[in-house]
């Protein structure tokens, strides 16, 4: 009997100690925190398209500043009845990133013509214009590399072929034949400083397209261009 009482007391004592231990108070506590910033890049419209030198045609779907880029342009007449030296379209692009970026472009040109005189990818001049990093929150000290030759209508970027008589965009990456597959057009350093996405500033650059009206084979031509920005 005394042994039973002793065991009971021992058990109770152990429980008391356990209770004291379990409810132990503390004068410190910890909060550990972490956060992830992934690479982010985006391309949007930099504003309205400018179409010049056209005969007929027009901007079917215009660019809307800071909205997804989805532009449709009818270049109009590209035969000799258009007496302008060039039909040009300037499509403003806006890029934003928190990392170094690469802007690539791919293009397809399809024509209803069947001869070598139909409009082809090499007949569509292309280049990126002046690159602008301005505005609050933009990394203005970042540098960019334009892999194109700029405005395709510049005299230095094209001329009439002395043999064939056809006008050709001859400079490096100055026409769409250089972009039959995704090809880098522009690359550079981080575009944005640490600012919210609601900050609408960024890097703007015009994508310049040009066609020299010539005695092309008659028909219709469709040019489709896709821009892709990545953070390698």
């Amino acid at each position: 009997m005394p042994r039973l009482i002793t065991r009971t007391i021992l058990l109770i004592a152990s429980l008391i100690i356990a209770a004291v231990t379990c409810s132990a108070q503390s004068t410190t506590g910890t909060v550990t925190m972490s956060a992830t910033v992934s690479k982010f890049v985006e391309i949007n419209s930099g504003g309205a398209v400018t179409l010049t030198g056209n005969s007929g045609g027009g901007v079917t779907t215009d660019g809307v500043l800071n909205s997804p880029l989805a532009v449709s342009i009818n270049l109009g007449e590209l035969g000799p009845s258009n007496t302008n030296s060039f039909v040009t379209a300037s499509v403003p692009l806006k890029l934003r990133s928190n990392a170094s970026y690469v802007l690539a472009m791919s293009a397809t040109v399809t024509s209803s013509g069947t001869t070598a005189s139909r409009i082809g990818a090499a007949d569509v001049g292309f280049g990126l214009g002046t690159i602008s990093r301005t505005g609050t929150g933009v990394n203005t000290s970042g540098t960019d590399t334009n892999a194109t030759s700029g405005d395709p209508t510049l005299a230095a970027n094209g001329s009439v072929n002395g043999t064939t008589g056809r006008y050709e965009f001859t400079a490096v990456r100055s026409n769409l034949s250089a972009f039959s597959s995704a090809t880098t057009a522009l690359s550079g350093a981080i575009i944005m400083n640490a600012v919210p996405r609601s900050n609408s500033n960024g890097l703007t650059v015009p994508a310049l397209f040009a066609v020299k009206p010539q005695f092309f084979e008659n028909g219709t031509t469709t040019v489709s261009v896709t821009f892709t920005v990545t953070a390698p």
Partner: protein
């Protein structure tokens, strides 16, 4: 006879241990104030003890805070409970979150404020001669004080950048009516520690920090 001596000795030792535990019971205590919450997060989470009798050991993952997260702000509310039988102060120290790249997440990019100090329950002490004071500049909800600075970056009325060494964030008089050495569910006060991050074009990377909250004897405030 030997067994009896051994039993008495063991009993004595156990009681002494229990007594020691009682005598050394801390007059100051900080614990979980309940389940923490997170809003606005993408791939984020927060874990902590749901019980006010549990230890304060919270893990916050703000998740993605680049522009991939289109929420206006990621907000974490961590309830913290306090108990004391004497005037107290709560201090916080921080380690980590020291990115060399100024465009990466910095301590100033994590808003930090205190709100909603209130009785935990009926066993909390109501003092009439002193109040519980959230120290400047932490008396704010950083989700509400967030503003865009002249450089376009979001700023807060108070942030983790306001923590230097062990920084006192809260002081006050006695918190508890009783003098229990054990945490009870109603014997103190509770407040919200609020943390915020506004998703921005931060430089890519993973950042982390550890905060240690410490309660200790504070200014001699009458009750």
């Amino acid at each position: 006879m030997r067994l009896r001596h051994f039993t008495y000795s063991l009993l004595s030792a156990l009681f002494l241990l229990a007594l020691a535990g009682t005598i050394s019971a801390q007059a100051l205590d900080i614990s979980s104030g309940g389940l923490p919450t997170i809003t606005g997060a993408v791939n984020g989470s927060v874990t902590g003890d749901a019980s006010v009798q549990g230890d304060l050991a919270v893990t916050v993952n703000f998740g993605e805070v680049s522009p991939l997260n289109t929420s206006s702000i990621v907000k974490v509310v961590v309830p913290i409970a306090l108990r004391s039988n004497q005037p107290y102060q709560v201090a916080v120290s921080i380690s980590g979150l020291t990115n060399a790249n100024a465009q990466a997440l910095q301590r100033s990019d994590v808003g930090f404020g205190l709100q909603n100090i209130q009785l935990l329950g009926g066993a909390g002490k109501i003092c009439t001669q002193s109040t519980h004071v959230i120290q400047s500049p932490f008396n704010n909800d950083p989700a509400l004080s967030a503003a865009v600075g002249s450089n376009g970056r979001v700023t807060y009325s108070s942030s983790l950048a306001n923590l230097s060494g062990s920084t006192v964030i809260l002081t006050g008089p006695i918190l508890s009516k009783n003098n229990s050495s054990k945490r009870q569910t109603s014997d103190g006060y509770i407040f919200d520690a609020i943390f915020t991050v506004t998703p921005q074009f931060f430089a890519a990377g993973v950042s982390s920090a550890t905060l240690i909250f410490t309660i200790s004897p504070g200014p001699n405030l009458p009750c």
